[in-house]
């Protein structure tokens, strides 16, 4: 199992091909978005929605054998592409590793505006929500 840092480095390396060209980066992200495994429709509930002004995100998480499994979807392809990267990075990791990790790949691939202060997309809130899940699983683990 690769570490969170190793996976992020791999992603950054893949995106270096585009040499900072925004259009190619976005086209690639949209392709990744199309390949994101579909989320179980039953999980696309109001409770699982992470709302943004323009794009919305559905997020669900479960703990299996001490590792967190995320499922997510979005109504926009670019956000979906970023979600698929985030899932690559954080899926099958322990809650502790997720909580201790620093997400650096988003900025390095030139998409820092997606995690900035603006409320137009659900992506920034999604990252927070994923960490909240990790925190909840961690405290459950200690309680058991």
């Amino acid at each position: 199992m690769k570490s969170i840092t190793e996976i992020q480095n791999q992603i950054v390396e893949n995106f270096e091909l585009f040499e900072g060209d925004m259009e190619s980066t976005l086209f690639y992200l949209m392709d990744l978005g199309k390949k994101l495994p579909p989320m179980d429709e039953a999980l696309k509930t109001e409770a699982n929605i992470v709302k943004g002004c323009q794009s919305k995100v559905w997020l669900n998480a479960k703990l299996e054998k001490g590792k967190v499994i995320f499922e997510a979807d979005s109504n926009t392809e670019i956000t979906k592409g970023l979600i698929s990267l985030l899932i690559q990075v954080w899926n099958n990791q322990t809650p502790e590793d997720i909580l201790n990790s620093e997400l650096f790949f988003i900025e390095k691939i030139g998409m820092s505006r997606m995690i900035g202060g603006q409320r137009s997309n659900g992506f920034a809130s999604m990252i927070k929500q994923m960490k909240m899940y990790a925190l909840a699983f961690k405290s459950m683990g200690h309680g058991a």
């Binding site: 925004m22 976005l26 323009q54 794009s55 926009t76 392809e77 670019i78 137009s120």
Partner: protein
Amino acid sequence: MHQSKLNIESIRAEFPVLHQQVNGKPLIYFDNAATTQKPKSVIHAIRHYYEFDNANIHRGIHTLAERATAAFEDTRVSVQQFINSREKEEIIFTKGTTESVNLVASSFAKAFIKAGDEIIISGMEHHSNIVPWQIVCEERGAVLKVIPVLDHGELDMEAYQKLLSAKTKMVACVYVSNALGTINPIKKIIEAAHSVGAKILVDGAQAVAHLDIDVQELDCDFFAFSAHKLYGPTGVGILYGKRELLDAMPPYQSGGEMIKEVRFEGTTYNEIPYKFEAGTPNIADVIGFKSAIDFINNIGKIHIRKYENELLEHCTNGLKNKVTLYGTALQKVAVCSFVIKGMHHFDAGMMLDAKGIAVRTGHHCTQPLMERFGIEGTVRASFAIYNTKEEIDVFLEAVEKLVK
């Protein structure tokens, strides 16, 4: 088609912000309905004020205060002439259209709206001309009625006639739709409102940069707009109101400037417009606004409108077989609102930005209108005097690539 004789290159040279690269491509700014860029003259006026004249206005007796006051009041006269109000006292400075609407909703309602009264708005209002009236209705037990929107993005005028009655106390209606570009038949809407004794507020935010405005000829009771949508600074709005109404309305905010005399036993209020201008206003930007009005007057609205119509036609023709256009009214300003099949507007906006093209995406603060058309939002390209057909060609090519 007859070509405009304007020298667009020399107009563009007045706008420093346009001459830059975004994502490695020359900036194409098509988000003018959100805010227009500012010419050098506006930027210089603001800078000059801070460098030479900065002082608080109206109460100072020193030279700087006098210069600042004179420049501030010059803008009021300029606005008066720009929209042809009877007197300059009918021009109130606010921080934007939103505040202008809120001022009327709050003060007019206190004086004139009671339980059971009816307020009519249209189905294509910006949220800022919906929510203040919802609050008025909630607070005063009044009833909100909505003029429906037809398929081409025009108001259902027959339905409007039926909504009007002796119970109607206020009609608050947008002149030009920000999301669709529709120019509403505002004169007819005003006449109909008056025929039942109702007053009318016109949201002119999207109209002022494109259409000639004469508030006396329109005979509207209130007219609201923002400076930043007509090449002026942000943070400056205008509320025009007829004197007899403004005189009869209570103050909106209280504090300095708006008083005549303050005693602990009671306070008397200043005359209009100062009654509605509590506190230190946005002096620098109000002064800068005069330069924006001068800029428009120098070109002439008639030339602006003609040129922008050419841009609108060029863009509409280029888009109409590729995308679904929303807002196909006969009378429109230069706004193209559309949806690309199978592509979320957010993705489209990001992709266009990658090409240096700035458009607005989303519901444009008109969620009920989007619901009316069964969509979440649109991509909106809106044009101004400094845009060109060549820019539209680059945009159309980019859209074409997204449609594929």
